[in-house]
Amino acid sequence: MMKSLRKYDTLLFFLFIMPWIIGFITFFLIPFGTSVFYSFTDAKLPGAVEYEFVGLSNFIHMIDDPIFMKSLLNTMYFVVFGVPIVTAGMLVLALLLNFNVRGIALFRTFYYLPTLVPIVATVIIWRLVFNSEFGILNAGLSLLGMAKTDWIGGEHTIKPVIILLQVWISGSGVLIFLAALKNVPMHLYEAADIDGASRLRRFFSITLPMISPSILFVIIIQTMYNFQMFTEALLLSKGGPNYAAYTFVYNIYKSAFTDLKFSMAMSQSIFLFALIALVTFVLMKLSNRFVYYEGEK
């Protein structure tokens, strides 16, 4: 009797997760399979009538695309510099918003507001602010005696501007940290107080370890996001100037839609997927050493 119940339970389990299974097959496996299939062909478009299997040729010739290396390096820049900066920014903001002062709810709303701005509108606003001639930023800086800088149009400034933009719209990550901070048990701090620990020490020996799962989560989400970043670069500066903000996914988009080399775009996507999987795997492995889970001890 017990056994039959268990069998039945397995069936029920599948029924409960059925929506996901359907979605997974339809909107994931099928498109993904299509991508893999085409990456071994020379099809210019999906559904093209004429194509041939070319084996690994696309993967080998990937590097012939003049923008390939540059866009890969740009994306690595965002991953290597953007992820830590944005994550640290989120954490600092969460600590600020965790202050127990009057009116903090209002501050939270204002800090979160940028996250709710549609990306196109964000780009409009940032163009207004960073506009080298009529923007408020340069006007403010000139009061401090600084020369006009072409932030969005400059080869060396565009990437930092995009990272800054990510901090500006980082509200969701801030919320995750805020929730984690609220979950740190009060009694730990009380104990530390009795020991006479300094604020800094409290932060590093209690807060940080306790919220480390959230940090890992945010870092992984941020890493994936930065690997895939595209819309910001497209809308802000069309990836320019001189491909300074041309990200890897932007180049995939270009391969498919502008160069009309769909199969090449698919190979590049699979390359990126492998890269993301590898980096995430390494992050997870490393994290075992640093991330503290309650209940583990």
């Binding site: 099928i30 600020l96 940028p114 990306i119 001639e133 701090y189 530390a192 595209f230 995430t280």
Partner: protein, 280 residues
């Protein structure tokens, strides 16, 4: 006195100072947007720029709606789509997450990593193949490609729901079984009523994400009248790139509805996101 939160007056002042300094960075651009939209077109070309409009005018809105009479329609569209997406995300993801958190089958631990794996796939890989799929289903130029996937369980929301469900004690389930309840009653009568924070969080996240989605509607919707606000704004930039006040007005309009929604619901969000406390 209370958990060692030694509050001195200077400490509070410092906190306010830090908060306000950061506020300039976060709210500053929005203030600049408000200021720009109330200027005349000529004033936006002034050097040095004036912080606040010399004479307040709302003509930018007139021009905005003349250039783009579909603005309201787009807002309605975005609302309709986002509501359906949010509903779908809550219903489907919570059911799936219930499966992944309460059934002790061996398949659970095999399948759940796959759920997380799907988070890792670049949407760009899916972009064109999905387009082909939707075209074959005759879904292009409808809202279905934007809505239907949400009804089939989003990996991110499944993860959030599952994390939350794991914090609800199993004893409650067992008590329900003793009272003659079954799996579904546990889900519907026990788990869900206790999950208000994560439900609200998911509604808001899903709503916001759908509201902000650019690439989806950009690819799948061609008819201007079916556009969402995100894509519509992009069209607007193409149409009136020199008119900064009108563009700022467009950006302003796109923030208002969702800003209000967030303001009233923000309390739940923080409660809802529970990521600590259990090993994935």
């Amino acid at each position: 006195m209370n958990g060692g939160q030694k509050m001195s007056l200077s400490g509070t002042a410092l906190k306010y100072f830090l908060l306000c300094a950061t506020l300039i960075v976060f709210a500053g651009p929005l203030v600049w947007m408000l200021s720009t939209m109330m200027k005349t077109k000529m004033e936006t070309y002034k050097i040095p720029p004036s912080l606040f409009p010399e004479q307040l005018t709302f003509e930018a809105f007139d021009r905005l709606f003349t250039v783009q009479p579909l603005m309201w329609k787009w807002i309605q569209n975005s609302f309709t789509i986002s509501i359906f997406v949010a509903l779908g995300a809550v219903i489907s993801s919570s059911i799936v997450a219930y499966g992944f958190s309460r059934f002790a089958t061996k398949y659970r631990d095999k399948l759940f990593p796959i759920v997380l794996l799907t988070l890792m796939i670049p949407p760009s890989i899916m972009m064109i193949p999905s387009y082909v799929l939707f075209a074959k289903l005759h879904w292009i130029d409808t809202w279905l490609p934007l809505i239907v996937p949400a009804w089939l369980g989003g990996a991110y929301y499944i993860f959030l729901f599952r994390q939350f469900f794991l914090t609800i004690p199993q004893e409650l389930d067992e008590a329900t079984y003793l009272d003659g309840g079954n799996r579904w009653t546990v889900y519907a009568k026990v788990i869900m009523p206790l999950s208000k924070p994560i439900i609200v969080t998911t509604i808001i996240f899903a709503f916001v994400n759908s509201w902000l989605d650019f690439l989806g509607p950009f690819l799948y919707i061609k008819n201007n009248e079916m556009f969402t606000l995100s894509v519509g704004l992009q069209l607007l930039i193409g149409q009136t790139s020199q008119d900064f006040p009108a563009l700022a007005a467009g950006a302003f309009i796109s923030i208002i509805p969702i800003g209000l929604l967030y303001f009233f619901a923000q309390r739940y969000i923080v409660e809802g996101v529970v990521l600590t406390g259990s090993k994935g």
